[in-house]
Symmetry: C2
Subunit: 250 residues, 2 copies
């Protein structure tokens, strides 16, 4: 099995190394990751700027490439430039959570969604620890468990998975659950400061607020110590509203 | 009615001017748009870099701001910094199509989706002409028609609309249709070139290929001369797969 490994924290991120270690137990790994951090890049792609792919020695003898673009660019370059379609795409392990509406902002998940566009079974992994010194010991074991489960009961390629892992020792993890995206929003979004020239600037500092208390969401599962696995759509149509207006001829 | 107008082509784009003109017929307009083109930025937000908001004279006496960030940043800054929530958010008119999976790459739609996160009724408009010299005469009339329809039969705020307008004279437009996102993908994605130093670089040049021939998609409607209105989800959960795995205890 050929496995493409991507991320959004960049090719030097410890989370990527952790994911590559586990992926190598399952097949032949190729790494294509951004040459610098790309958190919060959503599904951005590079239009109007050329892209570079640099061979990388980050992973010893493993084929690895640093890409000058976004996580979605990495997947496009991997499939379009480096050759055939992989059998599996793994993205992460992200340094930080990607639950609820964060799926829209997440570069980690954009790589998985881009994989799904290409018909590649794709999974994005995130650990609930934003630190670059995060401990991936338990996460590695849990990624392995999720992969074993996935390979025995695969999802179709058009259903990428969003896997979030609580920041807990392995002994405190209560299990693995399929979840839905919790309703929520970000509040108190900006901190205003004045620059040395008296002009204002703004830091995005939004804090997530769940608006959902049901026991089936990603937020609930993570709070209770479960690994959250949320299957994702790549068709954004709100089907239940397709009859909301009658066709209007002119 | 207070209307926030955003876009992804930047504050000087003719499509933004066209949308502001129509919006002014419906209420008090505030413009917050990127200070430079942000096409293909998807739902990117600015993490780790401070944001600026500059007052702009692009729209005469209308309150207007150029933002140093992405389309999603513009919406966050407009609601978080400039004050209360608007009653309606309009994004566009984009210079170019946003059908099928382009909804994921589109900065225009990320602004509308961000509005939906904030509980603001939101609509993204796109004209099927990528030129900066595009003629928005027919598009203005059709945006007006869609807005009249929307105000008489609103969608809930958590269902943003993706409106695509064929590049045709008004007399050839056959009507307005609710549609679903066509299945499709981008093919032949890169052009490889060599720089003057003998190193390769890549231009993203992907061509869209529809994989869907049913007469209810956005691609179908646009080909047949209809304005396509696709209602969007902000919950990406693939609900039909939530029983695909049983809960796994540890």
């Amino acid at each position: 099995m050929r496995i493409l490994v991507c991320n959004d924290d960049g090719i030097t991120a410890p989370g990527l190394k952790a994911l590559v270690e586990v992926a190598q137990e399952f097949g032949e790994v190729v790494v294509v990751a951004p040459d610098r951090p790309q958190s919060g890049m959503g599904h951005a792609i590079s239009i109007g700027v050329p892209l570079r792919l640099y061979p990388s020695r980050e992973f010893g003898s493993l084929p690895a490439w640093a890409c000058s673009g976004t996580p979605a660019d990495c997947v496009k370059l991997a499939t379009g430039v480096l050759g055939e379609k992989p059998d599996l795409l793994l993205s992460g392990i992200n340094h930080g959570a990607n639950f609820s509406i964060s799926v829209f902002y997440s570069g980690t998940l954009s790589a998985a969604i881009e994989g799904a566009f290409e018909g590649i079974p794709s999974i994005g992994f995130s650990l609930l620890d934003y630190s670059m010194e995060a401990d991936f010991t338990a996460a590695r074991a849990l990624v392995r468990e999720v992969l074993l489960l996935y390979l025995s009961h695969p999802f179709p390629p058009h259903v990428p998975l969003n896997v979030n892992i609580p920041n807990l020792p392995l002994s405190e993890i209560r299990g693995i659950r399929l979840t839905r995206q919790a309703k929520g929003r970000f509040v108190e979004q900006f901190e205003k400061r004045m620059d040395p020239y008296g002009q204002p600037y703004y830091w995005l500092v939004g804090r997530f607020e769940s608006q959902d208390t049901e026991p089936d969401t990603d937020v609930w599962a993570l709070e209770k110590g479960f690994v959250s696995v949320c299957p994702l759509l790549i068709d954004l149509t709100a089907y239940s509203y397709l009859q909301h207006w009658q066709p209007i001829p002119r």
